[in-house]
């Protein structure tokens, strides 16, 4: 064989390996409308104009942009992130399509194929692929910067549930949006949240009216397709008194050599006796085995448990992204309100994750539970960072925190950084933490019974993460289990 053909062969093998490692790594050739590259006031105006936004929204964005220019990125996380050139990216990329879509039939078939390939049901007669007995799930499909479809609208509307892209909601329900947008995560909250306020391009808005139990799971599926494009979505969910909703979020992106920025803001509001269950399976492209490429995932998620007995439960399975900076939190203002955070974060190769939660106890008798399972492999670093704060007049607060770390190999790191600030003596705070390695005994035992090495690792890791995985709705739990195994392939041996 000549050198040349050997090199070509090697390239083909490498490409095949890459695809095998990250199954969502393909991209689609879809005609795309971009904003001019770079970030300035005109970019903000461009996005607002593209969305036909009302004047108040544009002003809000411009105020945020002015604020952002005076801010600096946070540097307290245990992350090593090269400086990001904010001028070298597109802030708006939308599939070129007909001006207004009235039904799914009008969505570009190429985009429908993308979702089909991802196993996401955006045709209403479908359910999540390959899962027996799956229930109906309404989907908002966000493709690059815009929402391309929301399903089951009519059925949801009969129940009084509003499920819209946020762009539509700003126009159709301005009072509701104005009332809550930026109230949970204020505009000045942090560098990435402020940037999001200025340039967010789409996302999801959900309103569950008083006393309504949302008749199906709601979900948003995020896909970054275009090159050099940041995705800045914004989600706002308001659960009115006595209502309930379960919301799922999934994300993937093609494999690209450059890093792409994803800076989302999610705001949840739960009024008296309302409950929101928010589940995420984050599978953004993590970069290759040498740490090249991958998504920078800087996300601000926060819930306001405003009402008495309100409850918000965050469940996240974080396997993707080159860098994850994310702390889904609960501000427990309501008396006897409840906050929960269940997290599995996997890092492999050169991935870095600094993730955790904040439980801010302002309400009397408020309670919180935190269960974090960190799994590190390769050369990766995985940090749990969590704050439990009890306000001076919050009597009878309880918190239980459990942080477990599992190490695969000897080159990775696991770190736990708990912050506990208690200003009321009646509080009961518990914190437990463990660090362990997958033992050779466990691996050999499983292999002697017939499992290949990677199957054995996947089984043991799924066992380690079980307390969190069982919090997920069934359809997601199946996907998440598979994902844990795939993310750790090649990490032992």
């Amino acid at each position: 064989m000549t050198d040349d053909s050997a090199i070509k062969d090697q390239a083909a093998w490498d490409a095949a390996d890459k695809v095998a490692d990250y199954e969502h790594g393909w991209s689609s050739d879809i005609e795309t409308d971009f904003a001019p590259k770079g970030l300035n006031e005109d970019t903000v105006r461009f996005i607002s104009a593209k969305k036909n936004e009302p004047e108040w929204m544009l002003e809000w964005r411009l105020k945020a942009f002015a604020m952002w220019k005076t801010m600096t990125p946070p540097d307290w996380a245990k992350l090593n992130v090269p400086p990001i050139d904010y001028q070298d990216a597109y802030y708006y990329a939308a599939p070129k399509a007909k001006p207004k879509l009235n039904s799914l039939d009008e969505v570009d078939p190429e985009i429908l194929r993308v979702y089909e390939k991802l196993g996401i049901p955006i045709a209403e007669q479908e359910v999540l692929a390959g899962v027996e007995g799956a229930r109906k799930v309404a989907v908002d499909a966000v493709f690059d910067s815009v929402s391309v479809a929301t399903t089951f609208r009519a059925e949801l509307e009969r129940a009084g549930v509003i499920f819209r892209s946020i762009s539509e909601a700003i126009k159709e329900y301005p009072e509701l949006v104005k009332k809550w947008l930026g109230k949970v995560v204020p505009m000045h909250d942090n560098y990435f949240a402020t940037l999001n306020c200025a340039v967010f391009s789409d996302g999801t808005f959900v309103y569950i009216p008083e006393g309504v139990r949302c008749p199906m799971e709601l979900s948003t599926y995020f896909r970054i397709n275009a090159e050099n494009t940041g995705q800045f979505e914004r989600t706002l969910i308001v659960a009115d008194k006595g209502s309930y909703v379960s919301y799922l979020e999934g994300c993937t992106a093609p494999m690209r050599d450059e890093n792409q920025l994803h800076a989302a803001v999610v705001e949840l509001v739960a009024l008296d006796d309302a409950e929101i269950k928010y589940s995420t399976v984050q599978n953004w492209y993590p970069g290759d085995a040498e740490g090249k490429g991958g998504i920078y995932n800087f996300v601000t998620k926060r819930a306001l448990c405003q009402g008495r007995n309100s409850k918000v439960s965050w469940t996240q399975v974080e396997t993707g992204s080159a860098v994850t900076w994310k702390y889904p939190s609960c501000v427990l203002n309501g008396e006897n309100s409840v906050g929960e955070f269940y997290s599995v974060a996997v890092t492999n190769n050169y991935q870095q994750a600094d993730t955790g939660t904040k439980m801010i106890h302002n309400g009397k008798g408020s309670r919180s539970t935190v269960v974090s399972k960190g799994i590190s492999a390769g050369h990766s670093n995985n940090t749990y960072r969590g704050l439990v704060r009890v306000a001076p007049n919050a009597e009878g607060v309880r918190n239980f925190t459990q942080c477990d770390s599992l190490l695969l190999g000897s080159l990775c790191g696991a770190h736990t950084v708990p912050y506990i600030e208690v200003r009321n003596p009646s509080a009961q705070i518990e914190h437990e933490a463990t660090t362990s390695k997958i033992s050779d005994d466990q691996l050999f035992y499983a292999m002697q019974r017939g499992l290949g090495q990677e199957e054995a690792v996947a089984l043991i890791v799924n066992g380690f993460a079980k307390e969190v995985l069982q919090q997920l709705p069934m359809e997601f739990a199946v996907e998440a289990q598979k994902l844990l195994g795939i993310s750790l392939e090649g990490s032992v041996g």
Partner: protein, 248 residues
């Protein structure tokens, strides 16, 4: 023959443990290996099942005519080799049912057989657990977590029944069992493995298991070699005289 071990030498952390071991096991036979501590009995079980860290430096092993030593541990399992562990391992968060179903189906897939459905698997699991006096609640608990020593050994037998291997190497399956449990385990071995197409290699210190599982052959393993071979009477002799007299 099912298993032929020829001049097997093996080291653990560069220390020679097996030093030229020869042994032939035929289908339909039950063999017992006895011997003093440190003679290499458990090492033999680990070498045959392919545990990393146990290095074969010389010799060969064929299993149903195939080169056993060239296979990965899970391939040996799929080929029908089962190791009953002296110290069964705990796997938190993974139920016995899930563990065994995945393991069994991985073996079946390796052999080109269709996987068992959840219902088919549960039927088999229920039968085997019932036969060994283990209730289904225990099968739903995480693998060996919180099990007593006796429960772990019983669980090994349930696993053996479900996996249904052609060669079982049972490493001190009798240790830590009271008299009642010993009978249950002994009955299990006979029921599952006393068949014309199956072979058992019992590794034990004591004669008492052999009251329940009658061996066709008894071997003495001392200093990395088989030093004596006889019938069931050899086990009684060992019990009476001790290893020191007989091993030399």
């Amino acid at each position: 023959m099912m298993l032929q071990i020829t001049n097997l030498h093996a080291t653990v952390a560069d220390k020679p443990i097996l030093k030229g071991l020869n042994l032939t096991l035929n289908a339909g036979e039950i063999h017992a290996i006895m011997g003093p501590n440190g003679a290499g009995k458990s090492t033999l079980g680990y070498v045959l099942s392919g545990r990393p860290g146990y290095e074969v430096t010389e010799g060969s092993v064929t299993f149903n005519g195939e080169d056993l030593l060239g296979m990965e541990p899970h391939e040996r399992a799929a080929a029908g080799l089962f190791l009953g562990f002296q110290y069964p391992v705990e796997i938190p968060g993974v139920s016995n049912v899930q563990f065994l179903r995945e393991a069994l189906n991985a073996q079946r897939q390796h052999r080109g057989e269709a996987p068992l459905s959840g219902a088919e698997f549960l039927k088999v699991a229920r039968e085997q657990a019932g036969a060994l006096g283990m209730d289904m609640d225990m099968l739903k608990r995480p693998v060996n977590v919180g099990f007593s020593g006796g429960e772990k050994k019983r669980n090994e037998m349930v696993q053996m029944g479900i996996i249904d291997p052609c060669l079982a190497i049972l490493d001190e399956t009798d240790s830590g069992l009271d008299i009642d449990a010993l009978r249950v385990v002994g009955d299990g071995i006979n029921r599952i493995m006393r068949k014309p197409d199956k072979t058992v290699l019992l590794i034990t210190h004591y004669q008492r298991l052999l009251d329940y599982v009658k061996p066709d052959f008894v071997h003495v393993l001392a200093d990395g070699r088989i030093t004596r071979t006889g019938g069931p009477e050899l086990a009684l002799e060992l019990e009476r005289e001790g290893y020191r007299e007989l091993a030399a």
